[in-house]
């Protein structure tokens, strides 16, 4: 976490919204659904009330798996697979490094990682042009 949070140590008396277990259940259901029906699910972490420290607790439970990708488009994004295959944590930052969105995606590969058709078409044309220059 950032330096401000490190220097400001406040006594937090075991706050619990009780939101972590239901969220984990939701993730489990979504994973089942992905396996059975191939359907992906995205959970927006901003829409859930969390006590100080609770979100970190959730991220600790999910842990870091094998894949971690950095994306550079409109600021950085971090895309990390959790220790549970198919459960991804996606954090989007803006150009100032501030968090713009935090999502849990239950999918084989997060949509944002895939090359987009229109981008590929443009790349094809660009590559063609580059070849003509050689």
């Amino acid at each position: 976490m950032n330096s401000m949070q490190n220097s400001l140590k406040v006594e937090i008396g075991g706050y619990h919204t009780g939101n972590i277990p239901p969220l984990l259940h939701e993730i489990r259901h979504a994973l089942r659904n992905l396996l059975d029906n191939g359907e992906t699910t995205t959970i927006d972490l901003r829409s859930l009330p969390m006590a100080p420290g609770e979100q970190q607790q959730l991220l600790d439970i999910l842990g870091k798996g094998e894949i971690s990708v950095h994306l550079d488009a409109l600021g950085k994004s971090e895309i990390t697979e959790s220790i549970y295959a198919g459960v991804w944590l996606i954090i989007h930052y803006n150009n100032n490094g501030e968090v713009m969105g935090k999502f849990i995606e239950i999918t084989r590969v997060p949509a944002i990682l895939k090359a987009q058709t229109a981008d590929m078409e443009e790349s094809l044309a660009a590559l063609q042009m580059r070849l003509e220059e050689i």
């Binding site: 901003r46 969390m50 409109l74």
Partner: protein, 365 residues
């Protein structure tokens, strides 16, 4: 101002890739408080959305709302939204002033007649029109003139939405909200003192995306952001439910993070998004910092019986709050001025009124 370029194209010309655009759509959905499953629909709509022209009028206000919006984290995705609306007039932000600025406003109104979005921050004084003017034009006159051909109006901040601080007892300027004056246009209220920046941009993004205003509650607020009260989403709620309250700001309960109800928290009657979206880039919100909610997104929050009085003991004794308001005015040496201005107020019926006798009494004391 390339008003006619679709947003997708405009973004690409700024070098934004499709991945960037997807990211933009995902965070836009999140800031509109829409489910992530709507991202493809949002992407489709945003791709072809056209930049709306926006005219922003600031009346009796402290500029806190504009500060909230512009100081938060520019340049950002929200900044991008602003790059993609055509902010044709904002007298705090624009370089032009006086006649040149007014000419720009009139040109934008003429060019986008019936289609521009009007954003207002600040309340409108109905007392002496001279209380607040822009280039010699009274706020009331300017609001009416610009509202006439607006597609819709966004009242940003509690002052524009409900009168706010200027409207607090004894309301010396006869301040009223936008919806008390304009009756024939769709108005969305985005209250808060100030409103959370992503709520302001979320509403603008909604208009940009869908070309219409979001669904509103009975006080004209977008349900997506004001649909829950602070209390229901407060992380201290389990303590409230167990009856564990802080009684002072430094007792054991306060240190342990117990509920702030007895210290005047207005969370149970306040509808706003702070408990989840939070402030300062999602860092914290007042209750997390140890202070009760003031109820800043509710009408008349200044007069809710004292910030530190528990809701249960709040007597809503308006005559008392009126007296306090006058005492403050007298201390600042403005009570006699108030008397004259007060006579001119055309809006007395709508507010707590202060009698001439009250003022004379305060003058003598």
């Amino acid at each position: 101002m390339s008003n006619n370029k679709p947003l997708g194209q405009a973004l690409r010309e700024q070098g934004v890739s499709r991945r960037g655009f997807l990211k933009f759509c995902a965070t836009t959905a999140s800031l509109m408080a829409l489910p992530p499953s709507m991202v493809p629909a949002i992407a489709k709509a945003l791709e072809s959305a056209r930049r709306p022209s926006v005219i922003w009028l600031s009346f009796q206000e402290c500029t806190g709302c504009t500060e909230s919006l512009t100081r938060s984290h520019a340049p950002t995705l929200e900044g991008l939204i602003f790059d993609n609306i055509s902010l044709d007039y904002h007298h705090t932000l624009q370089a032009a002033s006086g006649d040149a600025a007014e000419a720009a406003r009139e040109a934008a109104m003429e060019e986008n007649k019936g289609n521009y979005l009007l954003v207002v921050d600040g309340s409108i004084p109905l007392g002496n029109p001279g209380y607040s003017t822009i280039a010699g034009i009274s706020n009331l006159e300017m609001l009416k003139e610009v509202a006439e051909h607006a597609a819709a109006i966004i009242a940003v901040g509690t002052c524009a939405a409900y009168g706010g601080l200027p409207h607090a007892n004894p309301n010396p300027t006869g301040a009223v909200s936008v919806e008390e004056i304009i009756k024939d246009k769709p108005i969305v209220n985005v209250p808060g003192c100030p409103p959370i920046p992503v709520v302001i941009t979320g509403v603008l993004a909604h208009f940009l995306t869908f070309g219409k205003l979001p669904e509103l509650d009975h006080l004209g607020r977008p349900l997506a952001f004001y649909g829950n009260n602070i209390h229901d989403r407060c992380y201290r709620r389990p303590f409230y439910d167990k009856g564990l309250f802080a009684n002072t700001f430094d007792d054991e309960g306060a240190r342990k993070g117990w509920c702030l109800f007895k210290l005047g928290c207005k969370g149970p009657v306040t509808y706003n998004a702070c408990a989840t979206i939070k402030w300062n880039d999602g860092t914290s919100f007042p209750i997390e910092a140890g202070h009760g909610c003031l109820g800043c997104s509710e009408p008349n929050f200044w007069d809710m019986g004292g910030f530190y009085n528990a809701l249960s003991e709040s007597t809503m004794n308006l005559s008392r709050t009126a007296a306090v308001g006058i005492a403050v005015g007298a201390a600042a040496g403005t009570a006699s001025g108030l008397l004259n201005r007060r006579k001119k107020s055309k809006a007395e019926a709508a507010h707590e009124t202060v009698s001439v006798k009250d003022l004379q009494r305060e003058d003598k004391s």
